[in-house]
Symmetry: C2
Subunit: 351 residues, 2 copies
Amino acid sequence: MSTNAYYGPEAHGPYELIGIGQLALEDGGTIPDCRLAVATHGTLNAARDNAILVPTWYSGTSKIIEQVYIGAGRALDPARYFIVVVNQIGNGLSTSPHNSSGALAGPGFPKVRIGDDVRAQHRLLTEKFGLTRLALVVGGSMGAQQTYEWAVRHPDFVKRAAAIAGTAKNTEHDFLFAETLLEAITTDPGFRDGRYDSPAEVAAGLKRHAKLWTVMGWSTDFFREGRHKALGFDAMASFVDTFMTGYFAPMDPNDLIAMAWKWQRGDVSRHAGGDLAAALGRIKARTYVMPISHDMFFPPRDCEAEQRLIPGSEFRPLASIDGHLGLFGTDPQMLAQLDMHLLELLARPVE
Amino acid sequence: MSTNAYYGPEAHGPYELIGIGQLALEDGGTIPDCRLAVATHGTLNAARDNAILVPTWYSGTSKIIEQVYIGAGRALDPARYFIVVVNQIGNGLSTSPHNSSGALAGPGFPKVRIGDDVRAQHRLLTEKFGLTRLALVVGGSMGAQQTYEWAVRHPDFVKRAAAIAGTAKNTEHDFLFAETLLEAITTDPGFRDGRYDSPAEVAAGLKRHAKLWTVMGWSTDFFREGRHKALGFDAMASFVDTFMTGYFAPMDPNDLIAMAWKWQRGDVSRHAGGDLAAALGRIKARTYVMPISHDMFFPPRDCEAEQRLIPGSEFRPLASIDGHLGLFGTDPQMLAQLDMHLLELLARPVE
């Protein structure tokens, strides 16, 4: 176990660390004492039917979800809903390589899949909060992967689902992109097979990783329109060095790698022997599929192909030249579109 | 000077090495004895008005231009035109880091800009072939950069221009993508600041470079539609290992770096004090701007913004899910579209 001041309540709180016990993992191995970092907003009503689950994306925590998506007058309004934001395993707040000890510490951390997160979250919601249904599961990127996994695995539990900028079955193309991210880190000599003493020793690899995110995460249009300058950076170099590298630099490399490995293998078709149509056909939730127009690695057409396999679902693309990282909340107009769709989805009657 | 069997007439011939003398470079330094590898097809007519120039792209040589774009019944038909394919400086056939000696060898090779290539080519065409006009300059990617440079620098010489999948002024976004390619190579410990003994010592870096090209060079749609499988590879892994890595593995890292540095800085606005509109406004050539629909780093909108600044030009996008590397000729339908546009352009009267 190593300490890393970045992952704490000062930067990411408030949240509660909730133990859900021993978690046996799909790919083998066990997390003996799995703890989920959970942030809640609002109050569960008497009927226990106003709960919304928001899982997190790669490198993200409950904090950015709160800052960008939750608030009075928003679709995710704590005055109306009991909103549970669960940090994914490996993200640095929940049980993760860097905060584990013994055999699980650092590079010894076992492989965790999207399905493991969803089983852990299901245990949390049922045992800790006594829930039997979710009014909505909504997430972006790896959060969308978890959203799809929830809807396929627990069709009666999930009443509505909104998958933003992500897929139910990761594409080969996206798998390779994630591999370039992984390799940017692991090829840094300072990484030392995961046995570095601090992220600072892997600074060069983390910076290359940040550059790849800059290239693929936004869009060519974003930079042509000078959106990075509108965010306060006078040039690409300062945008990369200050914003993007500054964002990733304090993060734990083994944590990022645990998440990227999981991201690469998101695939609900595992529940139907590899048959994606059969797996998505199980979904009973009212589902909105919401890619971002300029997303370079989850382009609308990939998402639409999946949407057509989900009974009663709707295709609701979000227009933004901010691309995938529009998830960061950089484009207020995209957030307005998202809220409009979510408000409509939440107003739909369900069983 | 190092030997590298990949760069020779066996793989890339026939071509002629033509000395154009001493070339003073825009960024300082000189190539004392600059030699261009030149492949010609067809015959110059008596009026000397049927010459077509085709410059090459990053990593490409005159061979792929011949194989994919030139032939009887094609727009570039040797029966009608005198087609001159000039390998760019640094591409391994023309004067390049790996085939230079003394102070210019390997990492000592001076920085070469697109403008240097065009000045070298102008000398070749005027002094060696006695040309005073070109019926067409056509090129893809870095070939498009050279095409724009030609049209701006020599507006009366270039009668028609066709810029495929490239820009007149490189974008900040594309600059960063090229930087990730460069760093994939230079961070390989085997690169040793350019003093490796053979490309094999930089195999890991060249493979990462190939992976980045795989991610950005094709498109998500390309892989979703299984186009890589249609090309004969059963999975992404074999496509990356055999096709993409196999393509780049024998190439000289310093040569690739010389080209990437040049590519990053392509910018015709240098001729007008940074005013792109003024520079493009000088073009007298009948110009077709031809981005590829699914190109991830020279997207149609970037190219269209430039097209609007070129007097009398036309926007002629090519539809192909093969993305930027459709330039390799993998999509026959895209080549058919290209030929149709080029035939139309060549049929247009010029002064």
